[in-house]
């Protein structure tokens, strides 16, 4: 059984006539100890999908229209408030993009971590355990650091504190939403190393959200590419990076400059990312797609398995594999 299984998730913002579909028919699964990357540009629904796992998107304005989210054998969308509280932190923990904004500025970091312990492992809510956690995430001199306020730490250190806090409850799934986007490359390398090491050591699964395809290559077992609220390609990471099938995945790969690259010119994707509410009627990528055909404008493609473990949402998926 998979640790997480999202089936045909549909979510709207707003009600009735004003409803805007933010997530449309998203399905994917994460096995125990697996790392899955969710890749996409701003506004494609990747963060909202991730927040849905612990039902953290406030309703209203959001509205779960359909689908199921099976986490650890139970459907999150059918849980009571009490049950939700147990899985938040207990089964799934989050690390967000901006550690400076996620930490409470008026409490010492030690106490903030202890709060998570009090909720989930009250017998361990002591300084010794906090110090052990800080040591685990590689903070030097943790004995003195527990008395620091967040502003006394650098961005990289703050992100380590966030990770320590997420790990305090010993979750089975860690959701990291752009955990390194706000950090410098050398610090990003430190945090990514830390995440892979912790995953090895603690055997937890990671859902990593990023827009950086390079990070996918370094971290992911499998990857889901999202565009305009839908998954357009789901594949093992190595396969996707070597041979992307969906025209969007392909175009995205080609539009990013590579180190040691020899291309004189980048192949840019024309146009802009469609905004929510303005999604095209048929295939959502067709106005920007280099291989679009007239049918693409009216017919919404389904996500189909074109090869074992490779799913693509394109009317001409079968032709893409040739």
């Amino acid at each position: 059984m998979n640790l997480l299984e999202i089936k045909n998730l549909k979510m709207d913002f707003g009600k009735n006539a004003d409803a805007l579909r933010a997530i449309d028919d998203v399905s994917f699964a994460i096995g125990t100890g697996e790392t899955v990357c969710l890749v996409g540009e701003s506004g494609c629904g990747k963060s909202v999908t991730a927040l849905s796992i612990a039902r953290l998107v406030p309703t209203p304005p959001a509205n779960y229209v359909g689908g199921e989210i099976w986490l650890n054998g139970r459907d999150v969308l059918k849980m009571s408030a009490r049950e939700l509280q147990q899985i938040r932190g207990g089964v799934v923990s989050y690390v967000f993009q901006d550690p400076g904004a996620s930490l409470n500025p008026v409490f010492r970091v030690g106490n903030q971590i202890k709060e998570s312990l009090k909720l989930h492992r009250p017998e361990k809510a002591n300084d010794a355990e906090v110090i052990r956690l800080l040591k685990l995430v590689g903070i030097p001199a943790p004995e003195s650091r527990i008395r620091n306020y967040p502003f006394e730490m650098s961005g990289g250190m703050q992100q380590r504190v966030m990770i320590a806090m997420a790990l305090a409850s010993e979750p089975k799934l860690l959701v990291a939403d752009e955990p390194t986007t706000a950090l410098d490359v050398t610090i990003q390398a430190q945090i990514l190393d830390l995440l892979s090491e912790l995953k090895q050591r603690l055997g937890m699964a990671i859902l990593l959200i990023t827009h950086n395809l390079g990070i996918v290559g370094d971290m992911a077992d499998r990857v889901a590419v999202m565009y305009a609220g839908q998954i357009v390609e789901l594949a093992p990471a190595k396969e996707l990076l070597r041979r992307p099938l969906h025209p969007y995945a392909k175009a995205l790969m080609n539009s990013v400059p590579k180190l040691h690259g020899d291309a004189d010119r980048l192949s840019a994707i024309p146009g802009n990312v469609p905004r929510i509410g303005n999604f095209p009627k048929g295939c959502r990528f067709y106005p920007r797609c280099p291989s679009a055909r007239p049918e693409c404008a009216d017919t919404m493609p389904e996500l189909v398995e074109v090869e074992p473990n490779r799913w693509v949402r394109c009317l001409y998926a079968k032709e893409l594999t040739k």
Partner: protein, 333 residues
């Protein structure tokens, strides 16, 4: 003759403490930086946040006052110029900013934004000429001139950055300082703007100082690249050579830290310990020595390594430049 020449430029900011605002310390944001840019050349400037790259760019266009040093534009010293003299020189150099949302006045239409530059420098003599020039400019950055009457909020990030570029182009500058022009944009739109900048260079022979933190983008667009650390340039080299065979250990680490799409060869990632030190109290000797994997003591903590030519065309500020083993091609063990 080079288009821009910067000599021993320093920008120091006083740090004020206490109720009488006495100056106790200074942040050496830019410290003894010298370089030049030839006409039509793109020079990339990379470094981590707080290394002084933005300040350097702003000092060159005189948006922040240099503490000492000299800036020559086409051989003319503009370091202390002011008023009308400086304004007239500003026709030659323009700036494009990082944040396409914050750098356009929300209460002005595109026509007003682009036209303002034309008015200030009195570049068009009639209303119809002004209008014609504005539509020309919008077309040249890939925007339809029918949008001229719209306001910035009606455009996407990439389109706003195009407006910013049109505004810079209005005065036909010879040099554009691009301060992180694509880092606020979506990945699929970044490539459009990079291609546009490269096309404009081809067409008009504009030189760029391209400030960014993304090494892959900088390598792609630049002829030469300078790497900055704590206010100093630690390596300057031809772009391809810099990435292929970096001479400074910081550059090596920076390159190895870039996560790469290519999964074929797993590179050995050099993970630097610690954070960038505070520029108020930079480390003694070589500012990089506390994080450097190859530092040797006491030399590196005592003696400042001057920028020297370690290989033709490559300058590195390291005592051991040139004797580093290339690590980028190494397989992970």
């Amino acid at each position: 003759m080079s288009l821009l020449e910067v000599k021993d430029l320093k920008v120091h900011f006083p740090v004020k403490h206490g109720m009488f605002s006495r100056v106790h310390e200074t942040v050496k944001a830019v410290d003894d930086v010298s370089f030049s840019i030839a006409p039509g050349e793109t020079v990339g400037l990379v470094g981590e946040s707080g290394c002084g790259k933005t300040t350097l760019g702003r000092a060159i266009v005189r948006l922040v006052e240099p503490t000492s040093g000299q800036i020559f534009l086409e051989g003319e010293d503009i370091t202390t110029m002011s008023g009308a003299a400086l304004r007239s020189r500003r026709r030659k150099f323009q700036m494009i900013f990082q944040d396409p949302y914050g750098s356009l006045n929300p209460r002005m239409t595109v026509e007003q934004i682009v036209g303002e530059a034309l008015d200030i420098h009195k570049l068009t003599d009639s209303r119809s000429a002004r209008q014609k020039r504005i539509s020309e400019l919008l077309k040249s950055v890939g925007l339809d001139p029918i949008y001229a009457q719209r306001y910035p909020h009606e455009f996407s990030g990439g389109q706003r950055q195009r407006i910013g570029i049109a505004r810079a182009l209005a005065v036909e500058p010879k040099l554009i300082i691009c301060d992180e022009p694509v880092s606020a944009l979506d990945v699929s739109v970044q490539a459009q703007i990079i291609n546009l900048l490269m096309d404009l260079q081809q067409k008009h022979g504009i030189a760029y100082l391209f400030v960014a933190h993304d090494l892959a983008v900088v390598e792609h667009i630049s002829h030469r690249v300078m790497v900055m650390y704590l206010g100093k340039i630690v390596e300057a080299s031809e772009a391809k050579a810099l990435v292929r065979d970096p001479q400074h250990p910081y550059t090596q680490a920076l390159i190895s830290a870039v996560p790469e799409v290519d999964t074929g060869t797993k590179r050995k990632r050099i993970v630097l310990p610690g954070d960038v030190p505070s520029p108020i109290h930079p480390p003694s000797g070589c500012p990089f020595h506390p994080r450097c994997p190859i530092a040797q003591f006491p030399r590196c903590s005592a003696e400042y390594p001057v920028l020297r030519e370690s290989r033709p065309g490559t300058w590195a500020a390291c005592h051991f430049a040139g004797s580093l083993r290339p690590v980028t091609a190494e397989k992970a063990g």
